[in-house]
């Protein structure tokens, strides 16, 4: 269990290693050879961890010297790992430090996994006990049995798939009801994540509440966009192309406003970033928050599904998305439906962004990287549908994560977009497109 804790914390607290790539999270698979020691009495910032040798059945590596300097280059302390491989060094204050591993101090026969990786620069927050990643032994990441990786990747794929589904339902319904290919939908995801970050980190509101606030605020933003921008444009009779270009302009505008005010760094929420516990599955440890995200997503998607299938207004939404003129002819107030599609779709996108950021951290461009995956997912499921979009996204999320068994992580999204093109080539109406809808 200690290993589990260490692995997930090690990953979460390492902002530098977070790539902005979608779903780049491969928590335990990536850095399996480092663990933290047991928590200590002190409250101040510190570095801590346990050095183990991957080559020798994770046996502890003692006597290794690590020198820590502050950002000005001043040495602030040296620590030597004990016989259990554990080390602990209190730091004077929060801030940026560099840790240098003294290679000469390594016991015979122990080598760094990456010989270049002798020095690490890291940021410590107040009270944080920072684990350092110094893996030893041969890199077995890609040679570990695929079977061991299948389960954790499946679980992470489920998480990604559900989040894509949650964020993309709005995109699909907006397309269905207004024919807008909304390239700015990704920014709504970012907006939700950022809003929650401000509530959480600046106003010190617990993340659970901040998430709900972000959900509401995103919905409000969706309403504002529909009322202030899209509806007037539709009423002028704008062409599809015009709407697409406007949505892309909006995407660039919003994304760079986020960048302006939030900065290019990825940042975590204050809660759940460092989380004890976790379940060892296959070669990896899944932190509890992953399960929490999956459960919350399932509940939210379930509620959305219930609403769309049972509630009168939900059915109206699907009817308009299915066939606007027909719905309108049967007395449905299309304008009101469209407004609520924007509100609901944006709220879900924003909330999805919050959930996504609990594991990926908040970044100004996370929505943009998600956007094409959402498009791929809803195209797979059938553009303009609700259920089809959700299923398509879910399948796609699983596919993306599992594809890393065979393709490098850096191009896993390429596979997703290739799926998009293949679907359009062979089954343009998607897996659940309009052909099966009239009964």
């Amino acid at each position: 269990m200690a290993l589990a804790l260490a692995l997930c914390t090690a990953f979460v607290l390492q902002p530098g290693v977070m790539s902005s790539m979608v779903g780049a999270q491969e928590p335990t698979v990536d850095e399996p050879a480092v663990t933290t020691g047991s928590p200590t009495e002190t409250d101040g910032p510190a570095i801590t961890g346990v050095l183990v040798n991957r080559d020798d059945d994770d046996s502890p590596v003692g006597g290794v010297e690590i020198v820590v300097s502050d950002s000005a280059g001043e040495e602030v302390g040296t620590v030597v790992s004990d016989d259990d491989g554990a080390y602990f060094l209190e730091l004077p204050a929060e801030g940026e430090y560099t840790a240098q591993l003294i290679v000469d101090s390594l016991p015979d026969g122990v080598t760094l996994t990456d010989e270049e990786r002798t020095s690490l620069t890291f940021v410590v927050r107040p009270g944080q006990q920072k684990p350092l990643l110094f893996p030893f032994g041969v890199d077995t990441r890609n040679s570990t049995g695929s079977i061991d990786r299948v389960l954790p990747l499946t679980i992470d794929g489920i998480r990604l798939g559900l989040l894509l589904a949650m964020t993309a339902i709005g995109l699909s319904l907006i397309y269905g009801t207004t024919r807008i290919t909304n390239f700015a939908h990704g920014e709504m995801v970012t907006f939700g994540a950022l809003a929650a970050w401000y509530f959480n980190q600046i106003m010190n509101i617990p993340l659970l509440i901040a998430g709900v606030l972000a959900f509401l605020l995103s919905g409000l933003a969706g309403a504002g966009l529909e009322k202030g921008l899209w509806k007037p444009l539709r009423q002028r009779g704008s062409s599809l192309f015009g709407l697409m270009v406007v949505s892309f302009g909006l995407s660039i505008l919003a994304q760079h406003l986020f960048l302006y005010f939030f900065g290019s760094r990825t940042r975590p929420y204050s809660d759940y970033a460092l989380q004890p516990g976790g379940v060892q599955i296959g070669s990896a440890t899944i932190p509890p928050k992953t399960f929490a995200v999956i459960i919350i997503s399932l509940v939210v998607l379930g509620l959305v599904g219930l609403f769309l299938s049972r509630a009168r207004f939900g059915k109206a939404m699907r009817a308009v998305a299915d066939n606007g003129p027909l719905a309108s002819a049967s007395g449905i107030d299309t304008d009101r439906v469209v407004l609520w599609v924007w509100i609901g779709g944006s709220a879900l996108a924003g909330f999805g962004g919050v959930l996504y950021s609990t594991t990926q951290q908040v970044s100004f461009q996370q929505g943009q990287t998600l956007l094409l995956l959402m498009f791929a997912g809803i195209t797979l499921g059938g553009l303009g549908t609700a259920y089809g979009a959700a299923v398509g996204c879910f399948v796609l999320g699983l596919f993306i994560q599992l594809s890393t068994l065979v393709v490098p992580t850096s191009i896993k999204n390429v596979g997703a977009m290739a799926v998009l093109i293949l679907v359009l080539m062979f089954k343009p109406e998607g897996l659940f497109g309009r052909r099966e809808r009239v009964g």
């Binding site: 599809l240 192309f241 015009g242 270009v245 909006l250 760079h256 302006y260 490098p408 093109i421």
Partner: protein, 330 residues
């Protein structure tokens, strides 16, 4: 504020290779969207295959620069066929999604470490265009000043050739669009079914249009690659496509000179804005608390987004366009 610097950089920007890059991209989109109505949102992909086709041929395969240019053009044709095959049979907005995804695939593959040995990964490929500069009638390293313009000999050479390509493409566009071939294209833009009912193979025409405009985009990529002696994957982000669209809409679509004029104004404004903002920030006109130096680099993109929206909403016919003849109905 250093007004001299501001004016020099703005004037100089009129002719620089980046402007040529966007103008050629926009000329291609003019064929695609302006005349045929094809929503190609992946022009950056065509520009990328042009640039990478050249760079990879020279650097990785050791072929001559001239063969590399042909390879770049060939890749663009191939890409058009590959995308057009499925997407041109489908509804217009599907083409938009397919092309935008394809352009991203190209960029992601080019910057991936798994193709690093061929495409150079994140840092791209450098120094492959020596053969081009060997032919330079000007002295490569000398600086030439003409009034407010100031260019190196290298710049002059690529600019001369680059603008030559732009003029050639404008001439090609003019010749084609006054012909019955162009009439079919414009009719497809208005109503595909009507054209079909008159016995024209709409699909074949759309494919020809996609190839032609794609090649123009690839030429833009090639000019920039030679001009910079370098290709980088992130030059070809989706944003690039939309700068080209901004240029096309500003200048006026379905007009031979629309993308040229629009490209110059749009890019010069985009670049000039950046210079002005940075100067303002340096001169402390904008206090540090409101805008740091990192933030000042972001502002022009905020304006880019806003400009795209406003243009589309308020002047979709651009400068040269005639709303009656061609409106985007923004």
């Amino acid at each position: 504020m250093n007004w001299n610097l501001i004016f020099t950089s703005i004037f100089s920007a009129i002719f620089i290779k980046e402007t040529i890059f966007y103008v050629l991209g926009a000329q291609g989109l003019n064929i695609h969207y302006g005349y045929t109505g094809l929503m190609n949102f992946g022009q950056a992909g065509f520009m990328a295959v042009g640039a990478y086709g050249l760079a990879v041929s020279v650097e990785t395969f050791g072929w001559s620069l001239w063969v590399g240019i042909l390879v770049g053009i060939g890749w663009a044709i191939l890409l058009a066929l590959l995308l057009g095959l499925p997407a041109l049979r489908l509804r217009g907005d599907y083409l938009a999604i397919v092309t935008i995804a394809a352009a991203e695939i190209i960029r992601l593959v080019a910057r991936s470490e798994s193709t690093e040995s061929v495409a150079g990964g994140n840092s791209g490929i450098n120094n492959f265009a020596g053969a081009f500069y060997d032919l330079n009638p000007w002295v490569n390293t000398r600086r030439y000043d003409f009034g407010p313009f100031s260019y190196s000999g290298q710049d002059l050479w690529i600019q001369a050739v680059g603008w030559g390509v732009v003029l050639l493409m404008a001439l090609l566009t003019f010749l084609l669009m006054r012909s019955p071939w162009g009439r079919v294209l414009r009719s497809i833009r208005e109503n595909e079914d009507a054209v079909r009912s008159l016995g024209k193979n709409v699909y074949a025409y759309k494919m020809q249009s996609l190839v032609l405009g794609g090649v123009m985009g690839a030429l833009g990529g090639i000019v920039l690659a030679i001009g910079n002696q370098s290709v980088q994957p992130d030059t070809f982000a989706t944003r690039t496509t939309f700068i080209c669209y901004g240029a096309l809409i500003l200048g006026g679509a379905a007009r031979v000179w629309g993308p040229v004029l629009g490209g110059i104004i749009f890019y010069v404004a985009f670049r000039g804005l950046d210079v002005i903002i940075r100067q303002m920030e340096k001169a402390d006109i904008v206090p540090e608390s409101i805008m740091t130096s990192t933030q000042s680099g972001v502002v022009r993109f905020v304006f880019l987004g806003g400009a795209l929206m406003l243009l589309m909403v308020f002047r979709p016919q651009g400068i040269l366009g005639d709303r009656k003849e061609l409106a985007f109905d923004g």
